[in-house]
């Protein structure tokens, strides 16, 4: 199935060095701004389904507030348990004032 870039959010609506969450085709996707670079990944923590966008972002690491799992927002890799399964990440592209996500 061909994946396509779809507009997800205005870049101005992502807090600087913070996170926002969008609903794209029924999937909650978190957007992180890391020094002006945008990363998109599944908002649900793979441990107990808490919202990662409600967590803390430090550099490229997002920490889930429920149980402390940490993920690399660039690759989705688990940095710290209790999560074991990586989060899915999506490619992003800025087009004008809009951020597009490949889904």
């Amino acid at each position: 199935m061909a994946e396509v870039f779809v507009p997800a959010i205005k870049t101005a609506d992502v807090p600087p060095n913070g996170m926002a969450v969008v609903d794209v085709k029924g999937t909650r996707i978190a957007i992180a701004d890391v020094q002006g670079t945008y990363y998109a990944f599944d908002d649900e923590c793979t441990h107990e389904q808490c919202s990662l966008a409600e967590g803390d972002l430090a550099g490229t690491t997002v920490t889930c507030m429920c149980h402390g799992a940490e993920f690399d927002v660039r690759t989705g890799a688990v940095i710290a348990p209790p999560a074991v399964v990586p989060i899915r990440v999506y490619r992003t592209r800025v087009d004008g004032d809009a951020l597009h996500i490949e889904v």
Partner: protein, 406 residues
């Protein structure tokens, strides 16, 4: 090739074995466990696993085949009877002997036996391993009456799980509130309200005199004279470090196995980590013994480099969570007393953080539905710098900003 032996095929033991393998490709790593299955995590036993919502596979630290592919030798169903620290040999109950160069004690704790009439009746449970959880699970049916004795973390979580499954639950605790001894009465009272709001009957300042029944439990009688009819009793009356096999080894035992900041005991080549270890924590400047998941995992892994000849202190700030009903309770740090409890938010509200402070320093923090502030407090605890209580109280202050004001 050095032989590293770990006693206790638990989260601590498995984390240590995995770290030993990662840090030394040619080491011989052996993991000895008294239980029959591969290492698993215990927190879900009182929550998701007990309710049938989480399968056993999800609890495993690693899938069963992981250990053979990583050349970690598993000796399961093997109870250690003795450690000969002179010859460096571990003795197993079935007669096997396992030589070691370094040894990690990760045997954890076992449930304290309640010294009460009737505790051997059918329907009386305690909870430590997966078989205990299976036995209790098999008796949980909506409408049945259960009495939970002791409202520590296990008792509190079991009460919430039983209620979730539709049982009628009464809790008894000798203190004034759930977890009152650990968290203090003011915080404990908020947890009592939580249980009561979900329909749990709570009895404080009282304890069990006897469990009554013929073959099977029929009631619990309290010292104050209350009789509570029930079909199930769950005892959560505390734990003791599992150290009996160390008799004669020369290893210093005092509230668990006493270790320094490197997880080393007084006997060369022998280390300890996890629930069993009374560890000198460099942040708090004292020995502390922590019985929680994060310490089990991280301290197990933290012992590994020291077993391989390095000198790396273990200094992570202890942290744990407890999910009860729809509430998430988190605690970070370590305290046994405090001069001031600083509250951020309202203790009678839906969420708060409360800081246990002594001498202007935060020793610990507890949060109800406020994991973010608990996590953001951890660097403040570790920094051991005075923090202005008024800034902590002000919930418009981002706790991360307090770290920069050193």
């Amino acid at each position: 090739m050095a032989a590293h032996v770990v006693i206790g095929a638990s989260l601590t033991g498995a984390s240590a074995a995995i770290a030993l393998r990662e840090q030394s490709v040619d080491a011989v790593v052996t993991l000895i466990g008294a239980e029959d299955g591969v290492p698993y995590e215990r927190p879900p036993l009182s929550k998701g696993y007990l309710r049938g919502a989480v399968p056993l596979e999800k609890l495993m630290v690693r899938p069963p085949q992981f250990y053979s592919t990583q050349s970690i030798e598993l000796m399961l169903g093997s109870r250690v009877t003795r450690v000969d620290s002179g010859r460096r040999i571990v003795h197993i109950a079935d007669g096997k002997r396992v030589p070691y160069d370094t040894l990690l004690i990760a045997t954890g704790v076992h449930n304290r036996r309640a010294n009460l009439p009737g505790v051997d009746l059918e329907g009386v449970h305690s909870l430590r391993d997966v078989r205990d959880a299976d036995r209790l699970r098999a008796e949980m049916r909506p409408g049945r009456k259960a009495v939970v004795v002791g409202m520590g973390f296990i008792g509190s979580e079991v009460a919430a799980s039983l209620r979730h499954e539709g049982l009628e639950v009464t809790c008894i605790d000798p203190g004034k509130a759930p977890l009152g001894r650990i968290l203090g009465e003011a915080v404990g009272a908020t947890l009592a309200t939580l249980h009561e709001s979900y329909g749990v009957r709570t009895i404080f300042n009282d304890s069990v005199a006897a469990v009554e029944g013929g073959r099977r439990v029929e009631a619990v009688a309290t010292k104050a004279g209350t009789r509570i009819p029930c079909e199930i009793v769950v005892l959560g009356v505390g734990v003791e470090p599992t150290v009996d096999f160390l008799d004669g080894s020369g290893v210093h035992v005092d509230n668990g196995v006493v270790v320094d900041q490197f997880c080393a005991t007084n006997v060369p080549g022998i280390y300890a980590a996890g629930d069993v270890a009374n560890h000198y924590h460099p942040v708090f400047g004292r020995h502390i013994r922590v019985e929680h998941w994060q310490n089990a995992m991280r301290q197990g892994a933290g012992a590994a480099p020291n077993m391989l000849g390095e000198r790396v202190p273990y200094d992570e700030v202890p942290w744990f969570w407890s999910d009860q009903y729809d509430a998430n309770i988190q605690y970070a740090g370590f305290h046994t007393s405090y001069d001031e409890l600083v509250v951020r938010g309202q203790l009678n509200g839906a969420s708060y953080a409360a800081f246990y402070m002594t001498g202007g320093l935060i020793d610990a923090v507890v949060g109800l539905n406020n994991a973010k502030d608990v996590r953001r407090t951890m660097p403040l605890i570790k920094a051991r710098r005075p923090v202005d209580p008024d800034r902590l109280r002000d919930d418009k202050v981002d706790l991360r900003s307090l770290l920069d004001k050193g």
